[in-house]
């Protein structure tokens, strides 16, 4: 049976792309066709295996309570043993399918998008590395494996953001991404060390048993700290406030990369991590509150920035941050189902949006400013259709995918706390507004005479089509097929649509789209006037609340300043002492050298004086000794 085979050999899913990475990186890089061919073949194989795993989960009744686990020892020394392995439950299976599917689509798309690029082979090597690392992360059986692949996705993200390494902006963005996420990883690593010391194991299954017992015995105090430290990792990786700054800059990478890594898959690793170790968070109300509020603040905050940005990919990047905030919020209010559901639909419609944006950028020769675009709906009908579907999905208009998942989150938030719900609802209005703004500015209005757009090639249109279909049905179908029975934490929840909540959010979204039409479609309300009326707010939003400037200052002035001060200390104090001691020796030698004048008279004088002194000593001070000698 294929699904049995797939389940037993799930470790092949990350291993195959890893092998492809090595082969392409070492040998095939120079041959574009072979590189892409191998990467694609491997992705198809991984996707089929992932589907097999999904089938096996259903066929064999694997649930979150009874996962399928394999382990092999990786490091074993006295006092510490670390494993690698495979951990399959419905959440893993869903992630595997989503990641392999989106990455397959992006790799097909890149055939057209990256065509003729001198680094074509290198691009597919990096993509394969990313896919391997991400899939390895998804099937992690313990914290150490998770951390290993967590860092490796960070590496591939670094490499791909800096793919156009000759651009200063790309190089700096790559560095920023790595370092910002590293700050989060510092917390994650500390949390992992705490767990290792407290429980002597990092295995998810074993921790899942040990932690509730520990909480009963010793309370939640220390564990809350541990959970918050671990949560720092997701804050960095999933672009949560205040470590979100790297994600918009990450758009320096090629657009397919933005779609795959910085929208659909890698950035949700943080959300996935919290869901994976929900057995820890679930017991700690303070930690959950923190997660919820971080998510809600991030969602609102990023949406408020997206309102005024001009670059198409930046707008999408802030919308990604905002949607990730939604997912965190859902986790924080205790609904793993809603979070994972939104993760899945978001992967579809956000990848779709990015790929459509890529088609636009491709058609306009790397034009990124939306106000330099306009009227593209005539020349690029497929892209226009795809973008429209994406916008409607993210805005939460029924029956598109985003509607169902966002509704679940709003429902969960409403049941938990009113302020959180309010923030989420306002954010959903803002989202609909800025996404509609993007759609209207880019595709409506008069065509710009300088632009000579053309529709994307077939290799780019196919993924748009597939993802477009998924963005339409990807919410409704799982919703009716009991997604929540499988992907959950604790008992399954059968919440139907809450019409009050769904109605409110839909109405708000439609209103926002209408407002966007008035401002950017028909131009009946002037956007400039509005910005002019509230100059402070506008500037705060446009300059992203000046957080980048703050970090820049911290890095350059504070850290660099400490470094310079310490270097001064090293040069003048420590080395000063070292050299001083050296010079002291020289001086001493120099001084002593002066005694050796070479004058016989002087030597004779010293000799005579010495004899006199000895004689005086013998006569007056030690006469007894004198007597002894004489007698």
């Amino acid at each position: 049976m294929f699904h049995e085979y797939a389940l037993q050999h799930a470790w092949l899913i990350p291993l195959l792309p890893a092998i492809a990475f090595v082969l392409i990186g070492l040998w095939l890089r120079r041959v574009p066709l072979l590189s892409a061919g191998l990467a694609l073949a491997v992705s198809i194989a991984a996707f089929l295996l992932a589907c097999g795993v999904g089938q096996a989960v259903i066929a064999q009744g694997i649930t979150v309570e009874q996962p399928f686990i394999q382990r092999v020892p990786w490091v074993a020394i006295s006092g510490l043993s670390l494993d690698m392995g495979v951990f399959i439950d419905p959440i893993t299976a869903m992630m595997l399918v989503v990641v392999t599917l989106v990455s397959l689509m992006v790799q097909i798309y890149s055939l057209g998008y990256m065509q003729g690029d001198p680094g074509f082979g290198r691009f597919y090597a990096y993509l394969s590395l990313f896919v391997a690392a991400m899939l390895g992360l998804v099937i992690s059986v313990n914290f150490i494996q998770l951390f290993v692949f967590w860092e490796l996705v960070g590496l591939s993200s670094y490499l791909l953001i800096g793919y156009y390494f000759y651009k200063i902006s790309a190089r700096e963005a790559a560095k920023k991404a790595f370092i910002t996420t590293r700050i989060g990883d510092f917390g994650l690593l500390l949390g992992i060390l705490f767990l290792q010391i407290l429980f002597g194991t990092l295995d998810f299954a074993q921790l899942g048993l040990a932690i509730p017992a520990y909480v009963q015995q010793s309370g939640t105090g220390l564990l809350t700290l541990v959970a918050l430290l671990i949560f720092l990792g997701p804050i960095g990786k999933s672009g949560q406030f205040p470590l979100h700054v790297w994600l918009p800059d990450a758009m320096e990478g090629p657009t397919p990369v933005s779609a795959l890594i910085h929208a659909a898959t890698m950035v949700v690793a943080g959300v996935y991590l919290v869901a994976r170790v929900f057995f820890l968070f679930d017991l700690l109300p303070v930690a959950l509150q923190t997660v919820a509020w971080t998510g809600a603040i991030t969602a609102f905050f990023a949406a408020s920035i997206a309102l005024t940005q001009r670059e198409i990919k930046r707008i999408l990047a802030y919308s990604t941050i905002s949607q990730l905030g939604y997912m965190m919020l859902a986790l924080g209010v205790g609904s793993v189902t809603a979070s994972m559901f939104h993760l899945m639909t978001h992967a579809f419609f956000k990848a779709l949006l990015f790929l459509a944006a890529g088609a636009v950028i491709h058609a306009l020769h790397d034009q990124n400013d939306i106000f330099a675009m306009g009227g593209l709906r005539h020349k690029m009908p497929v892209t226009f259709a795809a973008m429209t579907v994406g916008v409607l999905a993210i805005a939460g208009i029924p029956p598109f995918a985003g509607f169902f998942s966002k509704d679940e989150i709003l429902l969960a938030a409403a049941q938990a706390s009113w302020p959180l719900y309010l923030m989420a609802v306002v954010t959903s209005g803002l989202t609909a507004f800025y996404m509609a703004r993007l759609l209207f500015v880019v595709f409506f209005g008069p065509e710009k005479p300088d632009n000579h757009p053309h529709e994307a090639p077939l290799s780019m249109c196919i993924p748009l089509g597939v993802l477009g279909v998924l963005a339409i049905v990807g919410g409704f179908v799982p919703y009716t097929y009991h997604f929540g029975d499988w992907v959950r934490f604790g008992p399954a929840s059968h919440s139907g649509l809450d019409w009050a909540i769904a109605g409110t959010s839909t109405a708000l979204a439609l209103l926002s789209i209408g407002l966007a039409w008035l401002m950017y479609g028909s131009g009946r309300v002037s956007a400039e006037r509005l910005a002019w009326r509230f100059p402070g707010l506008y500037r705060l939003s446009y300059h992203k609340y000046y957080i980048d400037e703050l970090y820049q200052w911290l890095n350059q002035t504070v850290v660099g300043g400490i470094g310079r001060a310490l270097y001064w200390l090293d040069l003048y104090v420590i080395d000063g002492i070292v050299n001083g001691l050296g010079k002291l020796t020289l001086r001493l030698g120099d001084g002593l050298r002066k005694i050796q004048t070479g004058q016989v008279q002087q030597y004779g004088l010293v000799l005579f004086g010495a004899i006199l002194l000895v004689a005086a000593w013998l006569v007056w001070i030690e006469p007894a000794l004198m007597g002894g000698v004489l007698s």
Binding site: P73, W74, V75, A76, I77, S78, G79, L80, L82, I144, F147, V148, F149, E151, L152, L155, G162, F165, Y166, K167, I168, A170, R171, E172, A174, K175, F178, I179, R182, I183, D185, F186, L189, L190, L193, F194, Q196, I197, N555, V559, G560, I562, G563, R564, L566, Y567, D570, I574, D575, V578, G582
Partner: protein
């Protein structure tokens, strides 16, 4: 027991090669280099065989040899390796082989250079394989001479003159050995009554178990060893030789010095400090941990503002030695495993770094970071080497640096949580300075002035391939290293357990 004296063969292969070189005319440059390469290949091959043939399950010293030399003093030519020294011996030969190829383009007095290089490697290897303290000191002194000459003649003058750098390096080495010598003599004289005195390390370790060393004596003698070995390991504030010395030294010397030579410090602290003077180690451990934290953070921050590539790596190695010291001083099996493994890991990555910097310097004639940039255009292979070394240095999983560091963290966290947290903060600063040089040297717009600079090719690739593959293979299969190291640490377990319970004077300083 093996019949073939492997360790003697390994030790004398470079000496033999050196003698062959001595007989060659100085014009036969290619021949000289070839013979040096063959010599080191044989030595490396033999060492690799030992690594493979070492029996984990039996642990303890293997491939032992022993010939009495000066029985009146208790000196014998005794060799043997265990899980602690074998990785370091392997590292010596690995880096030695890489260093020969990294010096392939050398045209100034190659005969003398390669002869000195082989002597240097013999000296370093000798300190790791001997079981006799007298021989240990002998080999250690053997190291000092070639280092000085090589820096003075083949070094480069940047911020400081090469004469200054060579002098500083040598004086620190000698100063270390002076403290060491006093410490070793104190051990020798106090361990056993006259007549049965011995320099054998095992016998000295037994002397502790027999109770021949009082705690006061151990504390005093350990301090001497700490000053000696600590300055060799660039423990703060005895570290300032390291950046200057590496910057002044020629590529091969920087590789060997940062790669293995300074590890003699860590090796000595474990072999002598911990095994012979455990109570002294316990007494000073909190001080060492404190200094180690300073090492990690201080050197990382200073590395951040350096302008010369070699200074960055010089300070980086000071920073990494902080992790080794912390691992040592936490005094538990996990952390000591990590400390030893980290010495190996750091050796490989720093050697690769210096080899790549050497190549860049050969081609561009500058190491000044603001003058460099965009080298990935002209030198993609060198850029790969830089990336590998850099990523290993910042502890990326999948490369050799991660598991040793993680192991140290686990061990240190148990014993000194607060200090460990500060040290772990170092991973952020490490990322900062490593990514800074990677970005500024490799990436950015193409610079036409470097268009004439060729990428590494042919034999120049040997260091990159050799060290790079070790970085990756040992990173993906860390048990290759950890299993070996653990077999060396396991015999210490009873000692560590006892030490853990033993009360210490003043309750351990500053604890």
């Amino acid at each position: 027991m093996t019949v073939f004296p492997f360790l003697t063969a390994i030790l004398f292969t470079p000496i033999f090669g050196m003698l062959v070189l001595a007989c060659l005319p100085r014009e036969a440059e290619r021949m000289i280099k070839l013979i040096a390469a063959v010599t080191m290949s044989v030595a490396f091959g033999l060492t690799a065989y030992l690594y493979w043939a070492y029996d984990f399950a039996r642990s303890g010293l293997q491939f032992t040899e022993s010939i009495p030399w000066i029985p009146e003093l208790g000196v014998s030519y005794a060799l043997g390796v265990d899980g602690i020294s074998l990785p370091l011996l392997f590292l010596t030969m690995l880096i030695g082989l890489a260093a020969v190829f990294a010096s392939w383009k050398l045209d100034k007095r190659p005969k003398e250079f390669f002869m000195l290089l082989l002597i240097l490697l013999t000296g370093v290897a000798g300190t790791f394989v001997t079981r006799d303290l007298f021989i240990f000191l002998l080999f250690y002194e053997l190291v000092v001479i070639p280092i000085y000459i090589m820096v003075i003649i083949w070094g480069s003058t940047k911020r400081v003159s090469k004469e200054y750098a060579g002098m500083k390096l040598t004086i620190y080495l000698l100063l270390g050995s002076a403290f060491m010598l006093v410490g070793v003599l104190a051990l020798y004289l106090n361990a056993y009554p006259p007549g049965s005195r011995t320099f054998s390390m095992e016998a000295l370790a037994q002397a502790h178990q027999l109770g021949h060393f009082s705690e006061e004596f151990q504390i005093f003698a350990f301090l001497l060893l700490l000053l000696g070995f600590g300055s060799l390991l660039s423990m703060w504030p005895f570290h300032s030789w390291s950046p200057d010395g590496y910057a002044g030294a020629p590529t091969a010397v920087s590789m060997i010095h940062a790669g293995v030579l300074k590890k003699i410090g860590g090796y000595g602290l474990i072999r002598l400090g911990l095994l012979v003077l455990p109570l002294g180690a316990k007494f000073w451990a909190p001080v060492i941990v404190g200094l180690a934290v300073v090492n990690v953070l201080y050197a990382a921050l200073v590395a951040l503002v350096q302008k010369d590539l070699k200074y960055v790596i010089g300070y980086s190695s000071v920073s990494h030695m902080g992790y080794v010291l912390i691992g040592f001083a936490a005094l538990n099996s996990v952390s000591i495993n990590g400390a030893i493994a980290n010495m190996f890991a750091h050796g490989v990555m720093s050697a690769l770094f210096f080899a790549m910097i050497g190549h860049v310097y050969d081609k561009t004639h500058t190491r000044h970071i603001p003058d460099l940039g965009g080298l990935a255009h002209q030198m993609p292979r060198v850029a790969t080497g830089f990336m590998l070394a850099g990523m290993a240095s910042l502890g990326l999983p999948g490369l050799i640096g991660f598991i040793p560091e993680f192991t140290i963290f686990v061990g240190a966290f148990r014993a000194y949580p607060w200090q460990a947290i500060l040290a772990i903060l170092g991973i952020v600063f490490t990322a900062l300075y490593i990514l800074r040089i990677l970005a500024n040297v490799l990436f950015g717009p193409r610079r036409p002035e470097f268009d004439h600079c060729a990428d590494a090719r042919g034999l120049e690739l040997v260091p990159l391939v050799l060290l790079g593959s070790v970085l990756v293979v040992f990173g993906i299969f860390p048990q290759l290293l950890m299993g070996m190291v653990n077999s060396g640490v396991e015999p210490m377990l009873p000692l560590l357990a006892k030490l853990h319970q033993a009360p210490s004077m003043l309750g351990g300083l500053l604890k």
